[in-house]
Symmetry: C2
Amino acid sequence: MTLLRDPEPVTIPAREARSVSLRAGDRLVITDVCGGQVGDVFAYNAYDISEHHSAAHTRTHNGRLFPALLGRFVTNRRRPILTYLADSSPGIHDMLIAACDPERYAALGDPVHASCADNLRRAMAERGHEALPFIPQPINIFMRVPVSDIGDLPWLDAPTAPGDTITFRAEMDCIVVVSACPQDHTVINGAGPTPLAMTTYRHTTEETAADAHH
Amino acid sequence: MTLLRDPEPVTIPAREARSVSLRAGDRLVITDVCGGQVGDVFAYNAYDISEHHSAAHTRTHNGRLFPALLGRFVTNRRRPILTYLADSSPGIHDMLIAACDPERYAALGDPVHASCADNLRRAMAERGHEALPFIPQPINIFMRVPVSDIGDLPWLDAPTAPGDTITFRAEMDCIVVVSACPQDHTVINGAGPTPLAMTTYRHTTEETAADAHH
């Protein structure tokens, strides 16, 4: 088994999203370029988007709010889709808070505003998946929303430093969408939205790896 | 304003689900008949089931794992659908764990088993809504899954006594489905699945109330 890095990392501009197709075994490293930036991560079965990462099923599978390192994210059909493989950040992530959406910004008095929900819709439409039936609960990487002992959810700024990364391994062929959260009405993105970056390592056999070098 | 109680409560047999149509202002009292029984509650906009209660949006709306008393449950469009109006139980409920489904029981080695997901599908099909695109995260009334200080989710038995109730008020015209959870492979339903009951109080004007008495 060999891992081949895609030649160029994909930059996710501040307030935007990008998607990547992964095959089972591929690894995706997401970098918080400037630090203090939340990413909303969504994952769909590459061949049937009615199967997708489900936070509720992942909590149930792991018996935890968020998987422990090497734990798995599962779909609404309870099948592993991603593994939480490595983390150079403080390891604080959220899986409780909904993606920001136009209704959220309308309530904040700023109706014309980029949102993670619209970013997801656009990224999936570019892959031919128009009109998503709903927006799944995202994996909110680098987002700091601790649970208090009475169940309160205070929203704090992301604790990441420039260059911090989280790494996922694909457990099935999947489409992963990452939105650099455009939220600038709360403190979650610190001083304001900044870019993220994605680097993909392709899982390949020695033979195809050798081919790729020619 | 008058509240008129429906003549008969609706019994939800153990392991089954029942649905009720509510108009804005109606109240729904759900009773744990024998005690120790979890109910999975789902709520849909009566006129457009692509709008439904969303746990992620409700957590975001309230800044809490579960609304405080008089707090609101909101939809995936961030509109109030239910209010958490009253509670005679210990007040311990869950909104983190997925509905049990055929995949869950297959993994438990018991593939032919009733599930809250199938109960929801059946209840909605009876109202003409076939082929739900997905199963929303339920409001798991009376379910005791506390969050530990390291984010673990231990599953404990429901702490309710016979006759304990929780009361919701509808904030929009909606369909509410309640499944008496059939889970008997874990301790959540104590000694085993038992029935629930629903009593509906219809919000009506004095005039229609008078009509109803004739």
